[in-house]
């Protein structure tokens, strides 16, 4: 691990130099909100934000992505043959991703990179990307990363972690990818003061006011939790929009659609949401998750129970707080996690009796 000091005067210059070797992405303010976007030449990421409106998961897993293309024109030899759409897997770098969002990438990777199945679209994009994190010194009151297996200076999933020191940035090069990026940017003035990072981390962690408890989730009986009495109450206000799932950095569900125009067509994948009634509709018309309560329960059980049991990698949440802030009816995962974590099966019996 190497520490590099970057004078803010050299920051723009370094990024411009790196832009020769990398396609740069970063947070940019559009209308009222920050959003991760490809940076134009010379455009700088804007760090005057807490976090982006939507998570940067779309960089690896776009909301709509063409996978295959085909032609229905029978005069062509290759009609009805699916062909991969060309993708751009040249190196790129995300500058200014928050540590919570970087950690979420690893949770999503558990799904797209399994021993049995590997998603080439996601993995190619992932391997092509260098993640340059910006430590988070001003968390919101809805951030609960420290108790969600993450933190404002968390390093998992990052190649480089940058902290703001006023007139300079201090960067920790965590991987070879990170080192390569620093070299391309020409940032080479080493520093040797790891204590600064520790102090920054402690101060930032002290600003996190929101917490969740997850210690009992793994031990609680799955079926009992599934049958817990609080689901109707929680699900009541839900309007089954997909806001929580679309803004969530760890939600990975997608749907595959063919779109045909004239004689040419594409097969594309689009984000899907377990909140939508048609998410689980079978061809027969039967829908195993027909009610709102079932769908809401699925979302939270997946994040806070099934995932915990299956991967033993903690909860499927990094505490970014987006769903808490954006839910139109104030369904709060923190409150729900508390209810699930403190649930005792005996309560269920009492409720039934």
């Amino acid at each position: 691990m190497t520490l590099v000091k970057i004078d803010k005067k050299n920051w723009a210059e370094g990024l411009t130099a790196a832009a020769d070797a990398y396609r740069l992405y970063g947070p940019v303010k559009e209308k009222d909100y920050h959003q991760f976007k490809a940076l134009e030449k010379g455009e700088m990421p804007d760090f005057d934000m807490v976090n982006t409106r939507l998570s940067p998961k779309a960089l690896l897993f776009p909301q709509s992505e063409e996978m295959l293309e085909f032609s229905l024109d029978e005069s062509r030899d290759d009609h009805h043959i699916m062909k991969a759409v060309a993708t751009d897997d040249t190196p790129r770098a995300v500058v200014g991703i928050r540590p919570c969002d970087a950690k979420s990438t690893l949770l999503v990777k558990l799904n797209f990179d399994t021993p049995d199945v590997k998603d080439p679209y996601w993995l190619n994009a992932y391997h092509a990307t260098t993640f340059i994190g910006m430590a988070c010194d001003t968390p919101l009151s809805t951030c609960f990363c420290t108790t969600a297996g993450c933190g404002p200076y968390h390093e998992e999933g990052l190649d480089m972690l940058v902290m703001d020191q006023g007139d300079a940035y201090l960067a920790k090069l965590l991987t070879d990818k990170g080192k390569a990026f620093a070299a391309a940017a020409g940032w080479s003035e080493t520093a040797d003061d790891p204590a600064v990072f520790d102090a920054g981390r402690k101060a930032a962690e002290g600003r996190i006011v929101s917490t969740v408890k997850t210690d009992n989730l793994a031990d609680t009986d799955l079926l009992e939790l599934h049958g817990a009495p609080f689901w109707d109450d929680i699900a009541f206000s839900c309007i089954n929009c997909g806001t929580c799932t679309f803004s969530c950095p760890t939600c990975w569900c997608f749907d595959i659609q063919d779109e045909v125009h004239g004689k040419s067509g594409v097969r594309m994948k689009n984000w899907d949401s377990c909140m939508f009634p048609i998410f689980t509709v079978h061809t027969t018309g039967h829908n195993p998750r027909d009610t709102k309560t079932q769908r809401v329960r699925q979302r939270f059980m997946h994040k806070l129970k099934y995932f915990v049991d299956k991967y033993e990698a903690g909860i499927m949440c990094v505490g970014c707080g987006r769903c808490v802030r954006q839910c139109p009816v104030n369904i709060d995962i923190r409150r729900l996690c508390e209810q699930m974590n403190s649930f005792k099966p005996a309560d269920a019996c009492a409720a039934q009796g």
């Binding site: 776009p62 063409e66 779109e259 125009h261 594409v266 594309m268």
Partner: protein
């Protein structure tokens, strides 16, 4: 539609009895003339899916 920027002449309504073949022909002519005047539909066409 007009509010969104579709020309009003792209949408026509009429009422013709089954016995009014002359009116039918006249309306076809009139509609065609009007659409020719505003030119082709450039906006409201979907070619291939654009992905963001």
């Amino acid at each position: 539609m007009e509010l969104m920027g579709v020309e009003p002449d792209r949408l026509h309504f009429s009422w013709i009895s089954s016995a009014e073949s002359t009116k039918f022909v006249n309306v076809v002519k009139e509609v065609t003339e009007k659409v020719k005047a505003i030119g082709p539909n450039n906006h409201f066409i979907k070619d291939t899916a654009k992905v963001a």
